[in-house]
Each structure stands twice: as C-alpha cells, then as structure tokens.
Symmetry: none
Subunit: 427 residues, 2 copies
C-alpha cells in the first residue's frame, strides 16, 4: 500500500481501518419532524478520504448523556465529529460535555472574545455577555475559524483520536469542515482510492438474490457488498478501497464479473439508472415506441415512464381502463369477451395489450390487469392476482403472478414486473 | 395526573419520566445517501404516550458494536427500540447482537418456520433455507407478528427495560408497532391525554399559510403547532397535552376554531385524509363519477385517484395522451385544432376535459396539459406552464398556472392543483 508523503507526519495512520463516529447534538433533532442531515455531508467527505462511519448518534442538550456518548466514541474510533451545541445559550452543552469526557479544562481566550465583539460591532450591535461563552476552548484545542457565524469550532488531538467540535447550522459546518478539517485529515490519513459498482436487479426476491450471490461476495472483505431492496427493485452495491484507482477497479471487476455471471439478464442497470430510464434508453436506441393499457396499476406505469425526461419520443400514451366498460369502449375489446373471461384474466390482458398496440400504432403494447385489493369486492380474482400482457409484431404473451401485501405494495410490484417484462422484450 | 386502570399492572411506571432510545440498524443507513426515517414515526408514537426519546443511533451491520450499543441503551432507558437487521441474510445481525447484549440464548420456534413456509407456498414459491433464521426468538421473547413481510418482531421484558425488535421496511414497522407494541406500552405507561388536530390545506404556499395563522398559534405554547409542507400539500398539526381528554379537546377547539376561520375552504381535510381520498369521498357522496385526460402529469393523477381503495366506484378511467396524435385519436379532438392553438393551451385543455367527459359519460371530466420540462424541446410553452380543464353539465372551465422547479416538482404541483380544482367543483 502506498502511504504517500503523509507518512512523514508523526501521527499518520498506517493501516487502512480509520473509523469515525458522528454525534449530532440538539434536542430539536429528537423530535418527530427533524432529521440530522449534517452527518450525510460529513459521511461523504470522510468516505472520500477512505474513512468509514461506523456509528451515528443524535443526543439532546443533556451534558451528562453527551459526555457519556463522547467517552464511548473516543474509546473506540480514530475520528469523532460533533455538530451543534456550540451556541452562547445555557442549553449549548457541547463544550462542557466534551471537556468532561476528555478530562480537560476550558480555557478563556481573550482574543477570540475580541474577535466576536468586532463581529457584532460590524453589524452595529453590542455583543450580549453570554456570547463570551463561545471564547472558551478546551485545553490544548486548536481553533477552527467560522466564517459564517459566531460559534468557533475546535480540533483536539486526544490520545489516539481526533475530536472535532463543529457548529450545527449546515452552511457554517460545511464551510468550516472544508477549510479547516479536511486539510488536517488529508495530512494525517494515507491516501486511498475508493471505487464503487452498482447493479440494479429486477425479477427476483431479496433472499433469492442473496442466496445466489453471497457465496461470491462473502469471500471478499474488500470490496464491501451491500444489498438493498425496495418494492421489487434490488440494488447491489460493491465498494472497493485500495491504494490506487487501478487496484480498486481491478478488484471491482474481479468480483463484479462473478456476480454478473450469476445474475445474468436480471441485471437491468450498471450505472444506477432506474428501470424506467433503462427501458426508455432501450426504446430510444431501437427507435421503438410503447403504449399502455393499465387497469390495476391505475396510471402508475404511465407515471413512471413519463417521469423520464424526453419520454415523449418513445411513449405514445396510455389508457387507464378502470372499468370493463372502458376496457371495451376505449380499446375496442368486445364487452362480452371481458365478461366471459373476467376482467382479471389471461384473455383480457392479452386483448388489452394487442388492442392498445394496434390502436396507437406503437412497436409495443403493454397491459396490466389484476386486483390490488383491499377486497375482492365483486371481482372474480383474489387480491394480489395480476396478469401482464406484452404485444409486438412477433405476437402477444401474458405473464401471471400472485403477489401478497397491501394495496400500494401490490401495485408497485406489478408495475415493476411489467416494466421488467417490457425490458426483456426489447433487449 | 390520571393514571387510570393501568396502575394495577405490576410493571406500570409510576412517574412520568419514561425515556426511550431508538437504534436503527443497517450499514446502508451509514452511507451519505440515506437517513433513518423510522425513528421519526416511532418518536411521534412514543411522544403521544408521553415517552421522551433521549438518544438515537445508527449502527452498521456489526454484531459486536451493536451489542455494545444495546447494552448502553438498556442500562439507562426504560424503552429501547431497534429497527432493521431482522432479515434472513448473514448480515442481519440484530437477533444475535441483542441476544449477546442481554445474555439470552436464541430459541428456534418450529411453528414460526411453518408460518414462513406457508407464506412462500401461497406465492407458489419454495422458501429459501436461510429464511429459517427468522424463526429464532430470544429466550423469553414474545413474538410480534408481521402482516406485511416475513421478518417477525420481538418484545423482551428485560429487567427494568422493554426491548423491541422491529423490521426495517417502514410499512412493516408501522403496522407492527401500531398493532403489537402500542397496546403493550399503553397498558404499562400512565396515561396522559394527548389530542391532535390536523388540517390539510391546498392552494396556498407554506409561507403564505404561516403568515396567515402564526399570529394565532404563537400565542399558545399548548397546543404545539407544526406546519409541514410537501409538493403543494400543507399540513397544520396541533397537539395538546393535558391531564384529561376534555381539557385537551377544549384547548384544541379554542385554537382550531381560530385557524379554521382564517383558512376557510382552503382546508380540504380535518381527519388526515389525503386530497385524493377527500375527492373520492365527495364523488361517492354525490353519486358522481370522474374521467381524466392527462398530458403533462402523465398518469400521476390517475395513479393518485386509483390508490384510494374502492375508487372503481367513481373513477371511470383515464387517458394519458402524451402526443398530439393521441389527444386527437383517443379523445376525438380535431388534430387541426390542437395544431392551431398548441398542445399546451387553454383551448386544448378545454377540449380535452369536455371530450373525456362526453366519451366516458362521467359527471366530471378533468384535463391537464402543460410542459414539465426539463426543456421546451419543440413545445411552444415554457417549462412549468400548465392548463387545467374541468368539465361538467354546467360547462367547462380552464385554469392557468406557471410553476417553477424541476420536472418532478412541476408534475406534482400540477396534479395537486388539478385535484383541488376538482374538489372545489364538487363541493
């Protein structure tokens, strides 16, 4: 591993496992309406340096509890970042809590107080006395300047750990971290190259996918493989961390190739594109067009396709045929045939796909009919039953599935499956 | 404070200071792209019971670290909630970590395994062997049933603490917490009366709304008023916390009446119903029906209306007319007229609304045509321009608006406005 010029510094980290913990401070972040977003920015910055975030916390304005949290984090991680609680008021407890946790005193710095006063004077205001609290630094701390607000930050080299106190407002935190913390971290952490590879997969369950690919990815600690699933859409993230970009790419390629061989055409995207974007690009490349006849998905399929910018080039239009009458009237399918086979049937799905393709003069016609629940009310088909029809010049095919879950889940699984059927037909 | 019948239970908490800690598990939640949102829902539910959340954590799929976190939380709080990591795969470590932290063994429950297998059989699938992992419960744990997925939850009474293991997917977690955890907590925690009142508002901006109602709500610390805005939909939440339900209701009524007087018919719902649910109920009550001709919203309007259970009673169907040709062909509007006025014009919106109503024989016809961007490519209309047509036996009217923002934002504002226009027409 190359450690670059940073190796000459006294406290450079020689191994690759630099871990960080992020502590967001503030009782307002413990309400049901607010999330801590500073940690997302900090995570991105740390990851780019090859530093992994292992735990995040949100702690209220409670000195004892915060001190306990800081003690835990400092005992096991190389980097500890705190955001918030550096203001001038009584409930800003970060300075006191960190001092307690690290066993250091707080020292008043007159020149910081003077600078704060100058700032207020510039705004034609008199500095409230309580702002003097912001002129206290932990014993041995370095000042991190704040060019967007009054709260100064602090950097403390504590035993095996770098502790940073950052302000809560995001624009203050970002500016301070970028100007003051990044250069210090870059000088101390050996350079690493991090490369990622993402596969997006349709047409299999999360557990089936994991069973298929885990024999491969478990043999590697690097890259780290993560499987994420949502509504029938699965993402496989591979993240390699090496000394050079070439090594990281080679490693990703080694593992990625094996995973690709196992998943085959169930992978629909290698560049984070969504399924509708993938389908749109395929249609566009083939100079082909699509029209839709949706029943159970009720416009969700059209909504997804038209969410792709430029979709008007390949999406001709759709019919949301929510009644037998409309299936018949708008698509020209004999009502008698729908009544005979049922609205949710192979025959109706087939007729819908064919009819919409012919009516709209498109390359493909795609249809979905089914029962999304919550009840079977009068419908012949059980909740979760779905038929998907795809029609082109070669003919019309129908696929059948039984989903379980609530109405939104069944609808989104059906839409996902329909788009995947279309994708396979074009590809 | 009234403590009600719960006082007779052995482990009821007699003072009001019941603290909770929430631990979200999953390495994907430690990336720079994802936040834990489950804790927001859980916080809201716990607050309603008078339970305060004092610390939140996000921990990766790391058994030892998670066990350490659980030990800390259990040692100092009455309620400890974990979400995620209950899946069937190797990296789902929650069961093992909590067992280790609490010093309990994991016990295999054959009947849980059987139920899991039955679930797979229902989907005509064979259960992968790894799913058997989900049939292990901690020694002494109670099963929390999952009606939305395979991962069972667990409730453990551990010394002075109630520990809950909940699944990560939000719809599974919410259903499980509501059905299984809330009743158990309600039986153990002394009652406070918390009453809420929600107004949902359409047709005004968040800042206009806040300027209108803040002179009222700022005069009250109780109830607490929160304004939430998302894509043209605004919610005003009032939350009163009193010793008795009567006191809380009286307080809500006092403040709510003043806010209602200021907002008038811009309030579309007082019971948390969405705009599409409100419209559906209005149509249903009036024995009226609706059909849609959507261009720029591309099926999003149909998707929202058909997401309402039972919508087939009042939603006849929709046309996603994404090309001039389809506007003409499917709706019978002369192509020449569309060319003359432009696809995005008052005249075309009017013709679409009228045509779809007549073609489908519905009480109302609703149309949306506009340009959602990102470019004006060949379209005459600037990005963000939208025309909405509404037609009934009394005539056809067109509304015109210019929205700003990106494609998804423009589409959702247009859909929200169209539904609100329909609501006002029916009401």
């Amino acid at each position: 591993m190359s450690v670059s010029k940073a190796v000459s510094l006294p406290d450079v980290v020689m191994n690759t496992a630099v871990n960080a913990e992020i502590i967001a401070v503030g009782s307002e972040l413990l309400t049901s309406k607010r999330v801590d977003t500073n940690s997302l920015y900090l995570t991105e910055q740390l990851n780019d340096l090859g530093i992994e975030v292992t735990t995040k916390y949100v702690v209220g304005d409670d000195r004892a509890r915060l001190a306990e949290t800081v003690r835990t984090a400092v005992s096991r991680s190389r980097v500890v970042l705190l955001s918030g609680g550096l203001g001038p008021t009584e409930d800003d407890v970060t300075r006191d809590a960190v001092a307690e946790a690290l066993g250091r005193t707080l020292v008043f710095h007159p020149h910081i107080a003077e600078e704060l006063e100058a700032r207020f004077t510039k705004m034609f205001r008199v500095m409230p006395q309580i702002n003097k609290r912001q002129a206290f630094l932990l014993e041995g701390a370095e000042l991190l300047s704040n060019d967007r607000g009054t709260a100064p930050g602090q950097w403390i080299d504590h035993k095996n750990c770098w502790v940073m106190l950052l302000p809560g407002p995001p624009h203050e935190l970002k500016s301070m971290f970028g100007r003051e913390c990044l250069p210090r971290l870059e000088a101390r952490v050996p350079k690493q190259s991090i490369e990622t590879l993402v596969f997006r997969v349709a047409g299999m369950s999360e557990s089936d996918l994991d069973q298929t690919i885990s024999p491969v990815y478990k043999r590697y600690e690097n890259p780290v493989t993560t499987v994420l699933a949502h509504a029938g859409d699965i993402q496989v993230h591979l993240r390699a961390r090496c000394a050079t970009p070439a090594e990281a790419s080679a490693l990703l390629s080694e593992v990625g190739t094996q995973i690709e061989a196992l998943l085959g055409d169930r992978i629909y995207s290698r560049d984070s594109s969504s399924l509708e974007e993938t389908v749109g690009a395929l249609l566009s490349d083939a100079h082909a067009t699509i029209s839709l006849a949706e029943s159970m998905t009720g416009g969700a399929l059209a909504d997804r396709l038209t969410s792709v910018p430029g979709s008007s080039a390949w999406f001709a239009g759709g019919f949301v045929t929510y009644s037998k009458k409309m299936k018949s009237q708008a698509l020209g399918i004999p009502l008698e045939a729908i009544e005979r086979h049922g609205a949710v049937s192979k025959e109706t799905a087939e007729a819908m796909a064919l009819a919409v393709r012919e009516k709209m003069g498109t390359t493909y016609g795609l249809s979905v009919t089914g029962n999304a629940g919550p009840t079977t009310d009068g419908q012949e088909a059980p909740v979760g039953m779905v038929y998907i029809g795809i029609s082109d010049a070669r003919g019309t095919d129908v696929f059948h599935r039984q989903f379980i879950g609530d109405r939104p889940r069944i609808r989104s699984f059906a839409a996902q499956m329909a788009l995947d059927i279309l994708r396979r037909r074009i590809a």
